[in-house]
């Protein structure tokens, strides 16, 4: 599991956010499965060479979003009950973030909204052919 998460400490993206994003992505991709145990805060901090508080904060946020659960003395686990729920949520979060970035990039390149809408339509037609008229 630790190998699934890596951080770029020089990035401007807060480290706890990088940890959250990657764990969500792992859940979405199924490389972390419901019921699977996450490393302890200390173990992950040492694996990544980052501050334990940073990892603890990422875990707290993931708990609040009900992606993982922590039971005192046992550790943190990917949530197992209501399997569909957290998978769907994790997938939606990862996808929403990617779409948001793409739209932001298009805007920063000066693409006009109608042009962007046409691009999105084309992409939808390509990747969702069965649902395209």
């Amino acid at each position: 599991m630790p190998a699934v998460v890596t951080v770029d400490s020089r990035s401007g993206v807060p480290i706890y956010q990088q940890v959250i994003d990657q764990i969500k992505r792992s859940v979405a991709l199924g490389t972390l499965v419901p019921g699977e145990q996450l490393p302890t805060v200390k173990a992950l901090a040492l694996t990544l060479t980052v501050n334990p508080n940073t990892v603890a904060r990422a875990y707290r946020d993931l708990e609040r979003e009900e992606i993982i659960e922590t039971s005192p003395g046992r550790g943190s686990f990917v949530r197992g009950n209501g399997v569909v729920g957290e998978m769907t949520r994790a997938v939606a979060d990862v996808a929403a973030k990617a779409v948001g970035e793409a739209v932001r990039e298009a805007r920063s390149l000066g693409v006009a909204r109608p042009d962007l809408e046409r691009m999105v339509e084309r992409a939808l037609a390509r990747w969702y052919p069965e649902e395209t008229r």
């Binding site: 480290i15 501050n51 334990p52």
Partner: protein, 296 residues
């Protein structure tokens, strides 16, 4: 927990430390950054009782520095304070005699980690090995508060990483760690808090991830030349503004997304919000010029 409040230390009319406050809670690693002469060493001297502050307060676990504090407080100076003619082993013995909390097994383990020969005299150790021995002595008392001045001096990259791992391990076990460093990269990795000093003043401080979340560059490109937005220079959300032809860069100290939306409303044809790493934020904070102060 190490807490410094409004610390002032003057030498004659020169303020070496001028109103510095910082907190290092249990489990936290705080990086003290600043150019040479910015007040890092004087802050450490005050912390350790080697200089008497003119004003302000220093608390260790809620109490002022007292003999009992030294049981739990370890200090590693930049130049390792060792006895040339004593072996590494004899240094351990000296530490054992002075500290009730001394943990022999831990000390031996650290000697192994640093690949130190216990029978070698300190004067025959390399600079990096001396640093490693000083760290071994400091960590062997399992301190709850750890103050380190440039802890990786003379160490190769592999042992620098070992040192960071040891500090992370200490923090994970509840210690408060305060380290000064020239190397922002080290601090950026292992620390969760930072205090940036410039000419004795704290110019930026607090939670590193929160700083990264706040400090952004909003870059707006206009069709013609960028408008001169004089109001922005006085905006509390803005650190500074740069204009180059059609490009306007707003260095935000917070609310970058709101600023981006406002610039969009002014007819910018392209806007993006750029993340900033700690090194970039640090260099900006200690640069010469008018840098408004912010509370930590």
């Amino acid at each position: 927990m190490i807490a410094v409040r409004d610390l002032v230390k003057r030498y004659g009319s020169f303020s070496a430390v001028d109103g510095v406050s910082l907190d290092v809670p249990a489990g936290s690693i705080c990086g003290l950054l600043g150019p040479n002469g910015s007040g890092k060493t004087t802050t450490f001297k005050c912390l350790l009782g080697f200089a008497r502050p003119n004003a302000g307060e220093i608390r260790f676990d809620g109490a002022p520095l007292a003999p009992a504090t030294f049981e739990r407080l370890a200090y590693v100076p930049e130049r390792a304070a060792l006895y040339d003619w004593l072996t590494a082993e004899q240094h351990l013995e000296l530490t054992r005699r002075s500290y009730a909390r001394y943990d022999e097994a831990r000390a031996r383990e650290l000697l192994r980690v640093f690949e130190l020969d216990p029978r070698k005299k300190a004067k025959h150790l390399s600079k990096g090995q001396q640093t490693a021995l000083a760290l071994t002595l400091a960590l062997a008392i399992r301190p709850s508060m750890l103050v380190l001045d440039e802890p990786a001096t003379g160490l190769d990259p592999i042992f620098q990483r070992v040192v960071l791992d040891l500090l992370i391990d200490a923090a994970a076990n509840g210690a408060s760690v305060l380290l000064s460093s020239h190397q922002v990269g080290q601090v950026e990795r292992a620390a969760d808090r930072v205090a940036i000093l410039r000419r004795g003043k704290l110019v930026l401080g607090g939670d590193i991830d929160a700083l990264k979340g706040d400090e952004k560059i909003v870059e707006a490109i206009f069709a013609g030349s960028a408008p001169s937005l004089n109001g922005l220079g006085h905006d509390a959300r803005v650190r500074r503004v740069e204009t180059t032809g059609a490009i306007l860069r707003v260095y935000a100290r917070r609310d970058a997304d709101a600023l981006a939306a406002e610039l969009g409303g002014l007819g910018a044809r392209s806007i993006r919000v750029i993340d900033r790493g700690l090194e970039d934020i640090f260099l900006d904070a200690v640069a010469d010029g008018v840098i408004p102060e912010v509370p930590s």
